[in-house]
């Protein structure tokens, strides 16, 4: 019979053994377990998201008719503006197509646009990421760019059956080749250590010396398209300050990002039509 003291410590010993055992479990099994865990957890996340949608729906129903009418008028105005933009885009696209045919140019690498609802957001200092309610079931692939109305939202880093994890543009692990609007030279953009409830910010490096930006006179930062992942011209933010690097070769500075990144509910994933090119 084991001593009484050991009996008391049995749960801790068991835990210790399990942890020790886990250390020696093959990597494949660990990855599988993690993925399975995420897949099991996914329906809960999605369900939670639907519940929140329902909650929002019912809270919206509490609005008075007057409020709804006003909102409806605003929406109608916006819809008219968007209709106009859509028409303009169609014209421009037709022109692009005509020029491509005329010059016998190959079409630009195309994406399929996959709108997705945000299921959960995690904007803590460590995990600047979010989970969207679409995954491999909609053909979303790892590395696919994610955009929203304000420009680039992030990049897909993990894809599961029904969900996908998006690394946000604000994350320190997010980096891409950007350029100042109207300038083709590549600049390195990277997310920063963003605290909750503060305006989102990123950093730029390797900015050519002849580019100037201050808080008063900002420069728009867009994707360069040179990296091969993001199409060119997508808005990233505004360069609000630049300083000379100590070695005098470049400038570095801060980028003010879109405030809406903190309250994203809908994003669009740009799924490459030919993933081999990306």
């Amino acid at each position: 019979m084991l001593p009484k003291r050991f009996d008391q410590a049995r749960p801790f010993a068991t835990l210790g053994f399990v942890l020790l055992g886990w250390l020696f479990v093959p990597l494949v099994l660990k990855t599988f377990t993690r993925a399975t865990f995420f897949e099991i957890q996914a329906p809960l996340t999605v369900a939670d998201s639907f519940v929140r949608d329902l909650q929002t729906f019912w809270s919206n129903r509490l609005h008075s008719k007057d409020e709804l009418l006003k909102a409806g008028q605003q929406v109608a105005g916006l819809a008219a503006q968007y209709d106009f933009s859509v028409q303009q885009n169609e014209q421009l696209q037709a022109e692009i197509l005509r020029l491509e045919n005329l010059l016998k140019l190959p079409s630009m690498p195309a994406f399929r646009y996959e709108p997705a609802r945000v299921a959960r957001r995690d904007f803590s200092g460590w995990w600047q990421r979010m989970i969207i309610r679409k995954g491999a079931n909609y053909g979303i692939t790892t590395g696919a760019p994610v955009v929203f109305a304000g420009g680039v939202a992030g990049r897909v880093t993990e894809v599961y059956r029904y969900t996908a994890v998006v690394d946000l543009i604000t994350s320190p692990t997010f980096r891409l080749a950007a350029s100042v609007a109207g300038d083709s030279r590549p600049i390195s953009y990277q997310g920063g250590l963003n605290n909750s409830f503060k305006s989102p910010r990123g950093t730029v490096e390797f900015v050519p010396l002849d580019i100037y930006a201050t808080r008063g006179v900002t420069k728009r930062l867009v994707t360069s398209g040179l990296g091969g992942v993001f199409p060119p011209g997508l808005s990233l933010g505004e360069i609000s300050s630049l300083e000379l690097s100590p070695d005098g070769l470049f400038k570095y500075g801060e980028v003010s990002l879109d405030e809406r990144l903190g309250s994203l509910t809908e994003v669009t994933v740009l799924v490459p039509l030919n993933p081999e090119e990306f």
């Binding site: 692990t173 980096r175 390797f206 990296g227 100590p246 070695d247 005098g248 070769l249």
Partner: protein, 634 residues
């Protein structure tokens, strides 16, 4: 049972002895520990520090070199490379090593590589794995240089290992987007020298070489094992002369390492970013410089232009030249380059007889000695002058006819200067040349200036020539700038600048200072009438004489052409200044040519280069108010 043992222990004196022995040992250990901890702690801490810490030194980028308008003549170009942080790959090396070891397990021990070889294979394999990632992204087919990698691991493990160097901007953009932020593969930037105007002013700007042992200033850890990134040092031109100012401030970092030399994450260790060196603002005007070099395209020679008032050098061109961009970071001399003599900075190193430009000196010497009288001194030029029994020809074989000082300067009549040079005497002519700075280097801020310019006179010939007798023919020769007198184009430009100011010396400088005070040296010592005669002769030379091809429409000036021979090389000279009324720019051009070209001369070959410089200057400069002159030009 235990009680029995206790009883036994208590009663056994040998056990007590044993206890005492153990206690003694423990006390000894404690004593030693105390000694080590309290008395030797500094020593061992220091030993541990030296053993566990490594110092990495990063040289600061060099300062820029600008022209007088703030255009960057020499800057730093970023050089993007992809580096592999080997210090982060220890576990991967180990895993690969085990894999390789397992693969060789069935091989006979004799045929199996030893541990060292397997470690090297493992390292190369891991590095190639990362390089393959880059190859995939950049569509390249690079392979790891195994020997290079092993040398790096053995000697400079803490420094990142360069996998791919000098990436194009598109490649760099692809990599920063595709490589993970936390990857051991990182895009690394270093600086290399960049010359935006390519070969322009190459000799003046100079070039750099690789410094494998950059200096470290005031950065702690001198006793630590130190790894140094390669820096640059000036090897020629301004890069060499102002090397100390241009050198950046070295940065550095101290890292904590494990016994195998791999980096261990640690904070609070000293770290200092490198800082760019001081910038140099030169007096060069890149527009004028390019104009001069373009006009000298395909020729061999030099052109110098000075700001007459301040002595600032506006142009210092030498042809043939080289593009310093093709020589960074490493200078790799090519045979054809060596043969063509591009390294010679002809503007300050070329040793040329001054030719007829020296007639200005002869004229001043004659005027000061009283042997030339502007109103009455004339010569009848039949195309030659007999000096003793030797015939000294004029360049116009048919003869110039009667010429006074002004006409002789305008038409560059040799006979006039033979005649009055002989009257003045070689000593006075040589003394005048020395007064104008022909006897010593100018002291410009450039290395390797021709340090022993020569003014020939009887004393010099006695000392340096085999035939020590000075003949009247020697005087005739030096009077027209032939013979043994040797000067540089920069000295010629300084002489013209001094003359234009009515002074005797100009100290040239390559440094630009805004609103620099005009130079003031001793006056020439000529009465205004005599001085005006020389200027009039030169002005007519520029307007209608031998220097007329240098004339720029709407710009008055003064010039003197010259042709000389040095060995089998013909030299075409032209010196000039402008505007005549308010001298601002002095120019001296010499071009080397072949003897078989009958038309070769300063007025035809060098004049277009002077014209190009003056035109560029006229286009660019704001004209100062014009003061009228009191003599006839045309």
């Amino acid at each position: 049972m235990s009680r029995l043992i206790e009883t036994h222990r208590a009663r056994n004196p040998r056990l007590l002895l044993f206890h005492a022995f153990v206690v003694g040992l423990v006390l000894m250990l404690l004593g030693k520990l105390t000694y080590l901890q309290f008395w030797q702690t500094t020593l061992y801490s220091e030993k541990a520090r030296v053993q566990n810490q490594r110092r990495v030194i990063v040289p600061g980028p060099r300062g820029n070199i600008y022209d007088r308008d703030g255009n960057v003549l020499v800057g730093n170009r970023p050089r993007f490379s992809v580096v592999l942080n080997l210090a982060e790959l220890r576990s991967e090396f180990k895993a690969e090593y085990k894999k390789i070891e397992a693969n060789y397990a069935k091989v006979a021990p004799g045929d199996r590589p030893n541990d060292n070889q397997m470690a090297r294979i493992a390292r190369a394999s891991v590095a190639q794995h990362y390089l393959d990632q880059l190859n995939f992204i950049l569509n390249r087919h690079a392979t790891v240089r195994t020997a290079d990698l092993n040398r790096h691991v053995n000697q400079t493990l803490l420094l990142p290992y360069v996998l791919l160097d000098d990436l194009a901007p598109e490649e760099y953009a692809r990599l920063i987007e595709r490589l993970q932020v936390t990857s051991p593969l990182q895009v690394y930037t270093s600086s290399t020298r960049y010359y935006p105007y390519n070969a322009a002013a190459a000799h003046t700007l100079g070039y750099t070489g690789v410094n494998n042992d950059p200096e470290v200033e005031d950065f702690e850890g001198e006793d630590l094992l130190t790894f140094k990134m390669k820096g640059l040092f000036g090897r020629g031109g301004l890069e060499k002369i102002f090397d100390e100012q241009l050198q950046g401030e070295t940065g550095g970092a101290i890292y904590l390492v494990d016994p195998a030399g791999y980096k261990v994450n640690s904070r609070d260790l000293p770290h200092r970013l490198p800082v760019q060196g001081h910038n140099i603002f030169t007096s060069l005007d890149i527009d004028l410089q390019q104009a001069a070099e373009k006009a000298m395209e395909g020729r061999m020679g030099a052109a110098v232009a000075l700001d007459i008032q301040t002595g600032e050098v506006l142009v210092l061109a030498s042809r043939p030249d080289y593009d310093p961009n093709t020589r960074v970071p490493n200078l790799a001399p090519e045979q054809d380059v060596e043969k063509s003599g591009v390294w010679l900075n002809r503007a300050i190193q070329g040793q040329y007889p001054p030719g007829s430009t020296f007639k200005i000196i002869t004229a001043i010497a004659g005027l000061r000695a009283g042997s030339i009288e502007p109103a009455s001194s004339t010569s009848d030029c039949p195309g030659y002058l007999m000096v003793g029994n030797r015939r000294f020809p004029c360049h116009l074989h048919s003869g110039h006819g009667r010429r006074d000082l002004v006409g002789a300067l305008r038409d560059s009549c040799n006979v006039f200067f033979f005649k009055y040079g002989l009257e003045t005497g070689p000593e006075l002519i040589a003394a005048e040349a020395r007064r104008f700075g022909y006897g010593h280097p100018t002291g410009i801020e450039l290395p390797f200036e021709f340090s022993r310019p020569r003014v020939a006179d009887p004393a010099w010939k006695k000392l340096h020539s085999l035939d020590k007798t000075w003949f009247p023919g020697d005087t005739a020769n030096i009077a027209i700038g032939q013979g043994d007198t040797l000067i540089t184009p920069l000295q010629a430009a300084c002489m013209v600048a001094s003359l234009a100011r009515g002074e005797i010396e100009t100290k040239p400088t390559l440094l630009h200072v805004a609103n620099r005070a005009p130079q003031r040296t001793a006056p020439i010592g000529l009465p205004p009438r005599d001085y005006a005669a020389i200027l009039q002769g030169m002005a007519q030379c520029y307007a209608v004489g031998t220097g007329r091809f240098a004339r720029v429409e709407g710009l008055s000036g003064a010039a003197k052409s010259g042709t000389a021979q040095k060995g089998r090389i013909d030299l075409a000279w032209l010196v000039a200044f402008a505007p005549l009324e308010n001298p601002q720019i002095a120019v001296a051009v010499v071009l080397e040519g072949a003897l078989d070209d009958d038309n070769f001369g300063g007025g035809t070959y060098a004049a277009p280069v002077v014209k190009a410089i003056l035109e560029a200057w006229q286009t660019k400069s704001e004209r100062p108010p014009v003061k009228p002159v009191n003599f006839k030009v045309n």
